[in-house]
Point group: D2
Amino acid sequence: MIDRPRAAVVGATGYTGAELARLLLQHPYFRLGPLVGHSKAGQSVEDVLPSLAGLVPGEIAPFDADAVAASSELAFCALPHGASAPTVAALRERGVVVFDLSADFRLDDPQVYREWYGEHGAPDLFGRAVYGLVELHRDALRTADLVAVPGCYPTASTLALAPLLAAGLVDPNGIVIDAKSGVSGAGRSPAASTHLPETAEGFRAYKVGGVHRHTPEIEQELSRVVGAPIRVSFTPHLVPMSRGILVTAYAMAKGEVDVERCRRAARELYEGSPSVHVLSAGKSPDTLWVRGSNRAHLAYHVDRRTGRVVAQSAIDNLVKGAAGQAIQCANVRFGIAEESGISAPATWP
Amino acid sequence: MIDRPRAAVVGATGYTGAELARLLLQHPYFRLGPLVGHSKAGQSVEDVLPSLAGLVPGEIAPFDADAVAASSELAFCALPHGASAPTVAALRERGVVVFDLSADFRLDDPQVYREWYGEHGAPDLFGRAVYGLVELHRDALRTADLVAVPGCYPTASTLALAPLLAAGLVDPNGIVIDAKSGVSGAGRSPAASTHLPETAEGFRAYKVGGVHRHTPEIEQELSRVVGAPIRVSFTPHLVPMSRGILVTAYAMAKGEVDVERCRRAARELYEGSPSVHVLSAGKSPDTLWVRGSNRAHLAYHVDRRTGRVVAQSAIDNLVKGAAGQAIQCANVRFGIAEESGISAPATWP
Amino acid sequence: MIDRPRAAVVGATGYTGAELARLLLQHPYFRLGPLVGHSKAGQSVEDVLPSLAGLVPGEIAPFDADAVAASSELAFCALPHGASAPTVAALRERGVVVFDLSADFRLDDPQVYREWYGEHGAPDLFGRAVYGLVELHRDALRTADLVAVPGCYPTASTLALAPLLAAGLVDPNGIVIDAKSGVSGAGRSPAASTHLPETAEGFRAYKVGGVHRHTPEIEQELSRVVGAPIRVSFTPHLVPMSRGILVTAYAMAKGEVDVERCRRAARELYEGSPSVHVLSAGKSPDTLWVRGSNRAHLAYHVDRRTGRVVAQSAIDNLVKGAAGQAIQCANVRFGIAEESGISAPATWP
Amino acid sequence: MIDRPRAAVVGATGYTGAELARLLLQHPYFRLGPLVGHSKAGQSVEDVLPSLAGLVPGEIAPFDADAVAASSELAFCALPHGASAPTVAALRERGVVVFDLSADFRLDDPQVYREWYGEHGAPDLFGRAVYGLVELHRDALRTADLVAVPGCYPTASTLALAPLLAAGLVDPNGIVIDAKSGVSGAGRSPAASTHLPETAEGFRAYKVGGVHRHTPEIEQELSRVVGAPIRVSFTPHLVPMSRGILVTAYAMAKGEVDVERCRRAARELYEGSPSVHVLSAGKSPDTLWVRGSNRAHLAYHVDRRTGRVVAQSAIDNLVKGAAGQAIQCANVRFGIAEESGISAPATWP
């Protein structure tokens, strides 16, 4: 084990960074490298990430591409979109294998990126990343040096719907995705919309009307599955809890479809995928059942009165929706068991 | 004011009963009559309804139709379906004006009732109630002696969608209603599904696949608006909070529809309806903004990419979705101002 | 009712302001006057206080002492300490009866004020206010033109302990007050310490070691009751909920003290106080039982093994701990029934 | 690693059982043995413990002492007090090393057990267990075949106060322990007191007046430290969250005591204890910072005005307060690194 690779966490002071540190501290293969931050550089880790108090001494390091490259074979970048691309480029130039958790490298089409995010910060690298939804892109990830770790909503949405579309069980047109996320998905910066008194006993949608930036990412992945461009109606909601995403997706059944066919399609597509579990017939997933874990729970119901299939998925937005999935990608990339360090069940209840 | 009518609360020991007592205690016209319960009869009000400690002395009374009729001109019945019908019948026989909060008198079609609820407990009265969604049935309520107070989900769903359907702005086919409720909607009986540790940091759907009993009630009311039978895909979810319902409903726009047309349709339909407010364009309702009030907040968005209208509504399930709406019905029936005693804004935050 | 006085709310855009507006909208005597704010002046009320959408048209007014005095016989000032004093002075000069919810006029001793808060903003007025804990200062309030509405923790702490001290049942030395507050007590400004993901599933103390500014206020009021200066150990905690304060106070019994003597002392001291209720023996208060109401629930237990009396109180920090108590003071000052407009039970559950 | 011992979980269907399973699944040395339950025996693990869906196939096993002894070198018993003792006895007779999480073997004095719990179910074994607070009893645990894993409140209370008492910094008389627990501490059985709508937005004390059964356990351990019998005032509270205990303890300083001396006393007592961390001066622990981990965070403040030391501790009641601590005991007993399998930081936020 003399050669366990070291993994830097760039953008370590947000929630995704904290999760990466937590998971890497327990990882059997990767070692936790420097925790890199910008505005909090120089502060003690204990002050910034209180759960690491007594476990990780030292300070948040400022970003220095050479230093990261000198210490670390791989880096997880958890920066905002836009800010991420040049940082990723600097690390790639120095040979670091990068797992980028921003949106900067998730989209294939530069025009779509521009429309939803604006100018790209590293156009030369655009289109060079492998999309890190392991369950659908496992083979390509084995040799990827730049991985675009999927967004939380796209992960949950795609996992739920891909089996139905791949098996031709539902109409790819007219899909409605009603998604609900815990508040940690909004990040660590305090805001009125996440201030406990205005959030704890309330429930609301946001970015309604097809304007959330995860929409084109979902469409890209589902279109790949279908082999033709599709559009979805996607509406996110904020749940008064810290973690978890539940997706409830609606699609019209094609012909005679029953629950068992849906479940079988999912089991087949995700065979050999240790992070995905198809619940027993009749059950519906609960985000609490996967909280803190890298697991995705899926379920399918058929509404015979309206001919709709209701596909559901639950994940932890910070784990399978971010940090855990990034490590899952790294496991595949470095040729170790896919579930290494991320096989723990949920911290339930 | 010598003749302020007295209102009994039958089934006073649940959450709806507690809300009725709260609102009647402050009502300028009705006086709070006996609090009637079954399993808790004889217990002190303070022990059963702790928020009334020091405000309502005495005990929970057992049900006695003659005693209720002797003391009270009107009664609110907050009993489970099935148990409600014979109680309502006994009170009606004695001339009491009844506002029934169960499902027993909400449906028009006895066959539909049988299919979803089983045998009816008072078939002679079936079909004799006025459906108490005041905003749509105000005139009929003025002379009603038996009012079927709507369910919480049907209230929120119908208020959001009726304007679009009445104005012909959306296709009545293919509507998806994704609804989310606080846990008080599950009633006061403890259960694994409402035990705090298994509920507080989790989110889940339940009765998925078109099997929730509020489905036919929603369809009945929307079909009335359309003038033809329609079916909807309805999925309820449980939000880790006490109170509130948010409905997110999806319908395909018919022709060119913009947000202003939707908002105008709602403002016109609900003109003169003090409990309904259409939010400014661009906003989305939050259940917290109506918590504890009899108000409904509505909002409309148009997803131009998919041609869908997203209609949203937020109510407090125990107030506009139950007790407050019942009093609103009683206000109309007794000829006083519709918002009497229920005009308070939300207890925000 | 042609002369119902109008009440301005200065500092209307915080949570206390919102509660004042809510309660004044329903008040049978006072009318809601202008909603005055500083940084949000000119914004629509609906945008700033979403629970008032559709109920209060118009905008947040900038502060203008003349305008307030022209429109309003009384004013509730809900400004931060320091900023409050000059505003109060300007209103008092113009004859407005002022109920000040800041800390600026609560303390009797200017030296103590300086030590805990710094320089005072209106030293001429210092010491001229009546402390608005109605249950202990009712008579003085009847003629007060400037009322210092108590802090939330002092209200809960004093109500619980005053009866024991007044009746000589406990040793005034060595009292420990362990207090717990919902997050709305921290105000409306978002901060890391109130950001939902870092607050919802956590519990912590703050300002530990006798440094919270409510300490001298509690000591002042308890010292008045005792007739000699006393000191208390006061520790506040943050509860992951929006509203409510629970105080658990510990004092050594003097001689033979049982629960009934404690309860009797409280009932006697608070006879004729409609907002205070002493729970039945054996019960402990729950903040939920008073949420949204102006009520205080008290309870007493005796630990025979250690000789300690445990006194508990529960209030809603924004109502009996702020806005409701301010209106209670105004009711007394204007000679109307003390519970006018604030008699509603809690919105439970 | 051919001989990794297998660990049975008896009473696996409650929250502590679920945590034991979660931690054992990831343990580098122990292997998860049978999951044993009583009322749910025969049900699938997935149905009973949804977080294990897809990870632990099979069913909950009925209790059979011979079968447990045949499969498992050690057993964790998470049964209610009273029911636990005979089960433990049966396993001990068969040579199984038992870590008992009930209260049955925690107390030294049979008279005290009888007074607080009633008749003991295995009097021959009474007094034969080692108390499993590793930080204070590490050496005795190395050879223990029966370990009484401490209660959650005693763990948090003792860890906070032992350093102060051991170093003679505070008066052992007059200690007040105000403790606050998440709702999972109440177990998995639904009840009115844990029903979300009556718990989520409320805060309350319970078993007030020195009557909680953890009181004698705390007194036993602190008396050991002091070397003389002491009594404490202990009051537990219920926090509207799932997990976590915060203890705020008050003791009179003896002579000149400052924060640094308190912190140093704690660091010295817990030197070599990987689960305990003394926070930087000025900080207060938050249960969220240890949620899901086996860590205890301690902090000390001195109130100079009253001469009191305020000692605080935060743990996760299900981990360091139960399952994690049990495994920590087993690690010590089986001679492996104390933090094996339980070194993960909190799942924060």
